[in-house]
Symmetry: C2
Subunit: 389 residues, 2 copies
């Protein structure tokens, strides 16, 4: 069920090769509370600059997304392109230009085809409807499947809905943001609360996944709350219920991004417990989750715990004490020593599954963290060596 | 020409599959000054623990190396194995047990086959001779070629020789050390000076290469100086001349490791100039050199400078000012903006070469650094997904 007040559309603007959806729109029938988190990359795409500026107002009416061109490293012309394309859509929607939030994803460094996007805008706006699926398809690049998640939440005695849509399959190591993600809800949430809810959710979901350790120039997650479910802005336990639903939606989308990672076939949670503190646990988990040698072993279904141990050792957040390693619930290392071939044979069988957990138990404190990663395949290399050709 | 005082040998000990050289020995006919640098990984292999302890004396008579088994994560048994195998060789050489420096490389977590190594020791010692080539072959794992480099240097009016041998093709992102490297010289160098010379050389060579960002548990570089060239210990400009020769040998070996990197076909110097300081430049260069997306683009011969810009942006050492990028001398970005298809077509042609430079010019200070990297190929994945099977 779609959050009330929102409609969705997609169109072909020939930003990608002709014949493919590459322009998407989410529109709200009233001013929605708006919040956003953006890439921490210091090379920032033009739409991120414009979007961040506009989100600061805490209100928005629409999100305009193109795929196939990142509009990054495009200078003042790129800023102008982001403003002109969103102004065209704002005009058609009858809303102020700065009520449209622009997002782009795709190749870095090419001029955005403003004229083609402007030409496709009327069909885009005419196509607004209740089905988010075409929108979810229009924002994809190397993704193989669209990514949606929804929750229903009861807050202040009224039912509200939360819908999330995301794209992302490579250049994924979000830093307080991810590729593109959009969360809309009809719960009545004040802009400042929505901002806090979104930041907390992103920190626990999109920021705990990695595909290749590369952070995009365009990472953006936006949240819009229409309030169309009715009632005054939620607070206290009601706000917490909405926050839980937003986090659940973001977690689904984050896992969907890892599951659709370029060339990958495994979704692996790297869980670290017993680190000095949570920050240390996160650093250990990230180092393991990003190690190319660990990721190729995941691909080969090889319980090569020596590579996991080596990554823990170089993480800079491990003091050198005893450690245990379990793979999919099978103990393969106890007190830093391997448990032998039989244990590894059992772990190998578990690793044939599409999803499992690698658990690393340190003895240095109470710190805990999980980072979700994928395997590294020859297909990832093929996709990225050929991406632009 | 071999540094005077040193002899070399290799043997088959069935640590690897039978029929392959996997045991190597360097012996000096007199106590040699000794220095070593070791992995900073907090998970440290047993031979590193023993070797580090023995090198502290500043003197050694031999280096014993096995390939195929890292003797890492093997606990007290592993320490005992390193001591027993080196004691056996010391006995045959007629030198004190702690004058033999043990090194291991290979799979982590398996018990070292002490008996097989001890059984091969007499043939190993009997085989000592002037040719370092069998030794250079015996220490390889996934390497495809042995790696040697030599220089002649005149110090204090006498000619001295420097010979280096190394192995390494994966798990390469040395942190003040590298995989295994051995430098022997007949120049008369005091142990403390040899230590300083080796540290400086490693920092400028082995520590400026990356294959996959993974640091081994066994990284070790040892230097032995026999003094057999004659004369008193060198100092001042003579010591500097020896240091230059050691650094040149280490640089050759470091480049040879990158050139032989698992599945790689390109050697690319990532040079950063104009960073805030040298540390910032190194951080930017490392981030670019380790980016899987940059490395797959190098593999695809794709001048995808957007990925280079994105890596600069997420490095944490770039403040956000204008930047230029050149690939193999071809300018592709000026002031943060792409120079267009023609420039990229020219860069693509340059990238078909086996070696070239990516130059990143920032405008934030005088910091400079070079990190040498390789491309990331589907073959790297295949090698590492299959390594143990």
């Amino acid at each position: 069920m779609i959050p009330k007040g929102f409609r969705f559309a997609a169109a072909e603007a020939a930003v990608k090769a002709p014949g493919r959806l590459d322009l998407g729109l989410i529109a709200c029938d009233r001013p929605a509370a708006a919040a956003g988190v953006f890439t921490r990359n210091r090379v920032v795409a033009a739409p991120v600059v414009v979007c961040r500026e506009r989100v600061a107002a805490g209100r928005a009416r629409a999100v305009l997304v193109n795929a196939g061109n990142a509009n990054a490293c495009t200078g003042p012309q790129g800023l102008d392109a982001a403003r002109r394309t969103s102004a065209r859509v704002a005009d058609l929607l009858g809303v102020p230009p700065d009520a449209v939030l622009p997002c782009s994803t795709g190749v870095i460094g090419l001029p955005l085809p403003v004229d083609r996007i402007a030409a496709a805008a009327p069909a885009l706006v005419d196509g607004l409807g209740d089905d988010p699926e075409p929108f979810a398809r229009s924002i994809l690049t190397t993704d193989t499947v669209p990514k949606q998640s929804a929750r229903t939440v009861t807050a202040a005695g009224r039912q509200a809905r939360v819908l999330g849509v995301a794209k992302g399959a490579g250049m994924i190591r979000p830093d307080l943001a991810t590729m593109l993600g959009f969360v809309v809800t009809d719960a009545p949430v004040a802009a400042a609360d929505l901002d806090a809810v979104l930041r907390a959710a992103c920190d626990r979901t999109f920021n705990r996944i990695t595909v290749d350790g590369d952070t995009s120039t365009n990472d953006t997650v936006l949240a819009l709350a229409s309030g169309a479910a009715g009632g005054p802005p939620v607070s206290g336990p009601d706000l917490a219920a909405v926050a839980d639903a937003v986090e659940a939606v973001c977690r689904d989308l984050a896992r969907a991004i890892v599951a659709d990672a370029e060339g990958a076939g495994k979704v692996v949670d790297v869980r670290v417990v017993g680190a000095a503190d949570d920050a240390a646990a996160l650093r250990v988990a990230r180092t393991v989750a990003e190690s190319p040698l660990v990721k190729t072993a995941l691909h080969g279904e090889d319980p090569n715990w020596g590579r996991i141990a080596a990554a823990v050792g170089r993480s800079g957040a491990y003091a050198g004490g005893p450690f245990d390693i379990e793979i999919g619930g099978v103990a393969v290392v106890r007190d830093g020593l391997g448990l032998g071939e039989e244990a590894e044979a059992r772990a190998h069988r578990v690793m044939q599954a599409g999803a499992y957990e690698v658990r690393i138990v340190l003895a240095e404190g109470e710190g805990r963290a999980v980072v979700t990663t994928c395997d590294l395949s020859a297909e990832y290399v093929r996709i990225n060596a050929d991406y632009r050709s």
